[in-house]
Symmetry: C3
Subunit: 344 residues, 3 copies
């Protein structure tokens, strides 16, 4: 079920049409018309849903959804009479189909009369600037950018085409690529945490670098990305960063990194390409984290990690070692003779 106050522009499709769009096979009535999406447990006969995670097997079996994207091997446990969009990647099929049902609306171009755009800022064609937004002199926006209400773009910042900055954000000292999306309340480019601490004195270290963000990167809400002390804090192309993530000065992320909510990375640490970090994980300063590394949620990484490594724990270590230790400690506390994880 879709709330038309927020998603009015539905384009109804039959199950067969959605299957074709999504590269899926239909099982059941392909003429079923879909006009909404919903999770399995609340979906009605005009809603599209998906089933992939076995934890929701019962909800799948009992679902009243109009159509369900599912794996071939799950067809046997589908509810009687269900229409299935069969795919080896049901979430992908669902994503494509849902995008066909609800194509994203383009924001009408135009600068609000209540926005504050300096005459010396340069905006490409098709930009939208909402009420209360501030764009300072020398800022340069590519075509078709959207600057949300009450967002502040400081002097000299550059954005490539088709960026969308949501409301209430602040961006300074930044060079941003194309198609970058930045969530509400993000703070990008402020001075990092740099000083020489000699109590009672604290001598500030001038923060003379920038933030650079690659094409297609996505940042969630209320993130904080400090500019480099000298040189850049870098977010590679296609990185996906969730809410409340903190990147300190001179952190560098490669391409396509995925950082879940409330992750923090201390100054000057460098991550390779396609690194994944679970929620609330942290990385200490001045570390090298290789390509394709996986860091478990809640971990605290205090040493370098080689390409392809998977680590977890606090302090973080190879994930198998951590699991073994956790098991050993449990066994120890239960009174085992030794704590050998293999036996536990």
């Amino acid at each position: 079920m879709i709330d038309a106050r927020f998603f009015a522009a539905v384009v109804p499709h039959t199950a067969a049409e959605l299957a074709a769009v999504a590269g899926a096979d239909v099982a059941g009535d392909g003429d079923r018309v879909l006009t909404g999406v919903a999770p399995l447990h609340t979906a009605g006969p005009a809603d599209l849903a998906f089933f992939d995670n076995p934890a929701y097997r019962d909800a799948f079996a009992a679902s009243d959804a109009g159509a369900i994207c599912a794996r071939p091997e799950h067809a046997a446990i589908a509810p009687a009479g269900a229409v299935l969009l069969i795919s080896a990647q049901p979430v992908r099929a669902y994503a494509v189909a849902a995008g066909a049902l609800f194509p994203p609306a383009a924001q009408p171009a135009g600068i609000s009369a209540a926005a504050h755009v300096d005459a010396a800022a340069r905006l490409g064609p098709g930009c939208a600037v909402e009420a209360g937004a501030v764009i300072e002199a020398g800022a340069e926006l590519g075509a078709d950018c959207v600057i949300g209400a009450n967002t502040v773009i400081r002097a000299g910042v550059s954005l490539g085409r088709s960026c969308r900055i949501d409301a209430g954000a602040t961006i300074s000292h930044a060079v941003i690529g194309e198609r970058v999306r930045i969530g509400p309340g993000c703070r990008i480019g402020q001075a990092g945490f740099g000083f020489v601490p000699e109590p009672p004195e604290f001598l500030p270290v001038p923060q003379l670098g920038r933030v650079s963000i690659g094409d297609g990167a996505v940042l969630g809400a209320n993130c904080t990305i400090d500019r480099g002390a000298s040189g850049d804090t870098e977010i590679g192309a296609g990185c996906h960063i969730d809410n409340q993530v903190h990147l300190a000065h001179n952190v560098r992320l490669g391409r396509g990194c995925i950082l879940a909510g409330q992750v923090g990375i201390a100054g000057s640490s460098v991550l390779g390409d396609y690194v994944r970090m679970g929620g609330q994980a942290g990385v200490a300063g001045h570390l090298n984290i290789g390509d394709g590394v996986n860091i478990a949620a809640g971990s605290g990484v205090i040493r370098d990690v080689s390409d392809g490594g998977t680590v977890g724990g606090y302090p973080a270590q190879p994930i198998r070692d951590w699991h073994r230790q956790t098991a050993s400690v449990r066994r120890l506390a239960r009174g085992g003779k030794d704590g050998n994880g293999e036996a536990g």
Copy 2:
């Protein structure tokens, strides 16, 4: 001592009057007039304080407070000549009495000339909208709502009567009940962290749900609550959520949950009623946390927890097991023969 710049409207009461209001018994001079509140260690003769936590026993014994809410069993260690408001629940008695001394001021109604309210937004009687606030078309506010300065209410959002949204917040795709309070800088209803990660591609999953917030819920500052991917992210009636809490898409909280600062809950996890989470605790995605569960500060929950359970640790487990393990490990490191927590 109260700073009249911030709390000018004191209504002086005698100790006896306050005791009557708060359902407490007076010990000592009931005619003592109170005009302020303060903590035990700084309170003066016109200030009301309270004593409940034994850690502050010395401050209680030495306090110059004009009157102190305290338990009956603590009367014996009160300072000589003290006026006590005796109650089995001294914090509750204090809260009621302090509310009598400083009744909350109603914000005068009216829409600031510097606010940006769309003609197609509907506002109930008695609403106040501060400078720089943006309310888009189709938003609907019940009576007596307050929208803080520079806060953005997106199209179609609905708020019940007597909601108070503090400054600098952003709300979209949300259906909000009555008497809800949302702190400054909160980000509510933005798209969640949903994509199909197939490096180098990331296919976005359309985020077509909402946020629903029940009557009387309270959110602190700079929280981030993503809308559902399909269906709602839900915050039950009476939930109390502290600052910098992150709820991912499709998280559902029952009634009256208490989440302390910097808590994070990953996507689609469901909490029952009256769950309590300590500060910086985390819950992984797709979990079921039962009614009345307690989760210790800093814990990382990676498995379901049944009704009434109390868990702690990283990864979280039953709290007794965690304490026993902590003790076992300490003993082990000190060189004990085994690490049995019972002996430790």
Copy 3:
């Protein structure tokens, strides 16, 4: 290399001039002219860099920097022909020299026509108030303060001279000293997390205190500092607080404390002077943390810590104990006979 869009006002100096300013000795060509700064690995012949952390030894040896601040004992491994500014404190020398190259620009005074300053607010001479900022009645700003775009200063707040509040922040119920810097998106002075939880009822405890911030304190982006329930939440003079830090009501920090990113401190805990907390560390409520205490990143402190203590772990304990336990557990899981950390 410096991006002139953000840092235009360079004052070129020779290496000898910078050395004189920074109290360093020159090795090599003192007439080398510097016009920028950069990290070792990207610096060019007109850039100043520094080398202190041995982890960057290779980058130092290969650097093309025009001049490098370095320790005397590292001169031997400097690149051939390098110009060195020799100092026992190379970061301090760099900070002073970089400040000479790029003296901070003063913000021109003046109140934006798009700001909303109440007639009953008092502003000292030389203040700058940016577009969309709101300053309410009774607020009082010392000379030369800067209030960033879309920031809200509530009624009665006082700031000493030369404070700089960045964009999109919110300040209420606060008494702030001189030269205080507050990052974008900070939330200061809102009501703390105070209620009597008696499900299904939650009786709010009136939050009648303030926030007080001492001279020279620095706060990063998106921090949340709740006001006291009664009495003040206190940040001592010269404290340095990184991004996304949360201080609950009635927390008190002494002078010069250093809190790294995403730290959280629960209600009423008191820290002495010059306490240091690593990133993502937490302190439970109602604790006393002595002067000069060090708390490791990611730790969870649940007990008092005496002056000068160093703690780590979850729950936190003396750092040596924690390291010993970590080693013991590793040994245990590998199948060692005991888990004695000394042997491990």
